[in-house]
């Protein structure tokens, strides 16, 4: 029973998100209404069957209980909104647009034709993305540019031997997208739950702590003056946490660490003594706002 309730709550949650984001279903309902009100036959036999299928499928997806069956059918991998792939919304809207234009508009004067085209475009504009195509935002573009420079160094290092990288998530995720030659101590599924659906692995407490530590270091370094950085570093017990983490991180064969430049001094006061005790040689490379430590 609790499994059913889980699926039901997942379905209703998915429905809320879907209808908040997608207004094309409203247009679809308007199309059904339009065809129902028509006195003259506009559709072909194939069009009729397509409309009936879309109507029935749409009704089944609008009812939470039948939609829940669909969510179970398409497996837990996909959310509710993917069920709407089987409702031919785009096809029906286009079909209706052609029929309306052909029967109502085509034999009129040019003013009415232009007005009807503008009205159609307005409906799409209003129900869709308001003309805003998805593009990469400036911050992400900047980050990608920084990572490109870092990657040139990393790829060069990788030719000399296996690299296992520990870095802030913005660098880790771009690294793995650009090259498979560099391994990561943990992947994008650490911070992105959806990316974790593809494997059975769960991260250990050590790795979770390592992720939290380096993200705290990244957060502390962002837009803060050096004095505040020092205070935050001490308040967060960053040095103590790192000392505890370091042996475990090194046991996972991490041999490349990237940290923000703002925390370099604080990091090195902890890092170098520990490393030199273990007899590990460290090379530093400065790249943009980060420092790369290569352990050999």
């Amino acid at each position: 029973m609790s499994v059913i309730m889980d699926y039901l709550s997942r379905t209703t949650g998915g429905m809320e998100q879907f209808f908040a984001a997608d207004k094309m279903v409203v247009l679809l309902l308007a199309v059904f209404f339009l065809f129902w009100l028509q006195d003259k036959k506009m559709t072909s036999s194939e069009g009729d069957r397509l409309l009936i299928f879309a109507l029935v499928a749409g009704i089944l997806l609008l009812c939470p209980f039948t939609a829940m069956v669909g969510v179970i059918y398409q497996t837990a991998f996909y959310d509710y909104e993917w069920l709407w792939s089987m409702v031919p919304v785009t096809i029906i809207l286009s079909y209706a647009a052609v029929l309306v234009y052909d029967t109502k508009v085509d034999n009129t004067n040019w003013k009415k034709k232009v007005a009807s085209v503008v009205a159609f475009l307005f409906l799409l504009f209003w129900c869709g993305n308001q003309g805003m195509l998805k593009t990469v935002d400036t911050d992400e573009a900047e980050q990608q540019k920084k990572v490109s420079q870092m990657l040139e160094v990393l790829v060069q290092e990788a030719t000399e031997g296996e690299i296992v990288l520990w870095a802030p998530k913005s660098i880790m995720q771009e690294t793995r997208r650009r090259t498979g030659a560099i391994k990561l101590v943990y992947g994008r599924d650490m911070w992105e739950a959806k990316a974790g659906a593809y494997d059975y692995e769960a991260y250990s407490d050590v790795l979770i702590e390592a992720y939290e530590w380096i993200e705290d270091a990244e957060t502390i370094s962002t837009d803060t003056i050096p004095k505040v950085v020092k205070i935050l570093w001490q308040e967060e017990d960053m040095a103590v946490r790192f000392k505890t983490l370091l042996p475990d991180i090194l046991s996972m064969k991490v041999n490349c660490i990237i940290i923000p430049m703002e925390v370099e001094e604080l990091f090195e006061t902890v890092f170098f003594p520990e490393i030199s005790e273990m007899g590990i040689v460290v090379e530093e490379v400065l790249i943009e706002d980060y420092i790369l430590y290569r352990l050999k």
Partner: protein, 337 residues
């Protein structure tokens, strides 16, 4: 090599699809061989052949280079065979059976040009804009790991580390990352360029072929004005719903390489077209193709659900007079009295 890659991506689906249509419908003189259907069927055939190579690499531990070599060779042989079958089965009928040759008449309308203008904009947008990464999408990491390890799922894609448990079987059998990795391996192309910019252009182009084929089912095949109007409306919806993932834009403009995008853009319109035509064998091919590219319940996915629904509707339409009356709500109201 990029030029050769483009030529292969444009030519191979067409050759394979035409050969398949000629093989099964060559002697059926009432069945026209269309470019649009050839492309869609050719894409499905490429998925099928790639799945075989992928499974060989996954279960038999073949290296990626070995898979890519055999894949390229088999596609080449099959393409040549397809051309021979096409020429043999349609000997003397090229002018009468190939729909584009016999039916197309240039209409005095701007619709085809407006449509082509929008499509060109979309294809340039896909090719030229920076890659957008969708949450939960690990295709690029997977392809990069295949290329780095010269093998299929030897390591976890997100970390590059070896894993005892590996990836789930239902995910591991999906062949799209292997197709992209094999193309990179054969043509020496950068994975991001191929996957995020070249493949989506091909997917969207073939999608419009599929919609054009569907328009021939919904409207009179000779009525190119309505068919191009239909395509124009589709293109506008895809453009204006770019942020939508599922029912409308299908991520066409920035993630056309995803299995769900290929399914929604290419397979789903073709399933509707074939089930409306009551040609169920071709629809079944879509079910198999979907099982190879998207996570399904043991092969039963969106295409299967659509076929089941459409077959039920087709049977009911023929047998049930009550449904015919119900369907007349979309027809002339005078018939109800």
């Amino acid at each position: 090599m990029i030029g050769l890659l483009w030529i292969c991506l444009i030519l191979f689906p067409l050759l394979l699809g035409s050969g398949i249509l000629a093989l099964f419908y060559g002697k059926n003189t009432t069945y026209d061989i269309t470019f649009s259907e050839s492309y869609v069927l050719g894409a499905i055939a490429c998925i099928g052949i790639s799945e075989v190579m992928h499974l060989a690499g996954y279960f038999l531990n073949w290296s990626l280079q070995k898979c890519a070599g055999f894949w390229g060779l088999s596609l080449g042989i099959l393409a040549v065979a397809a051309v021979l079958v096409f020429c043999f089965r349609l000997k003397g009928q090229f002018g009468t059976r190939i729909a584009f040759c016999k039916d197309f008449k240039p209409e005095k309308t701007v619709t085809p040009f407006v449509f082509l203008g929008i499509v060109l904009f979309q294809l340039l947008f896909i090719f030229c804009t920076k890659t957008i990464h969708t949450d939960g999408d690990i295709y690029l990491e997977t392809v990069q790991s295949f290329l780095a390890e010269d093998g299929i799922y030897k390591v976890l894609p997100l970390t590059g580390q070896v894993s005892e448990s590996g990836v789930p079987l239902r995910y591991g059998i999906l062949c799209l990352p292997t197709i992209y990795a094999m193309l990179c391996s054969l043509f020496g192309t950068d994975a991001e360029l191929l996957m995020c910019h070249i493949v989506p252009v091909i997917v969207v182009a073939i999608a419009y072929m599929g919609y054009f084929y569907l328009s021939g089912v919904l409207f009179d095949k000779q009525d190119f004005r309505k068919r191009f109007l239909f395509l124009l409306a589709i293109a506008l919806i895809i453009l204006f719903t770019d942020t939508g993932v599922f029912s409308n834009g299908y991520n066409a403009l920035h993630s056309g390489y995803l299995g769900t995008s290929v399914r929604n853009l290419i397979l789903v319109p073709y399933v509707f077209a074939t089930t409306l035509e009551r040609r169920y064998f071709k629809a079944v091919l879509c079910v198999l193709a979907e099982a190879c590219i998207a996570w399904t319940l043991w092969g039963m996915g969106i295409c299967f659900a659509i076929i089941a629904g459409m077959i039920t509707l087709n049977i009911l339409e023929r047998k049930c007079s009550k449904l015919n009356s119900f369907m007349q709500i979309f027809r002339d109201k005078e018939d109800l009295t």
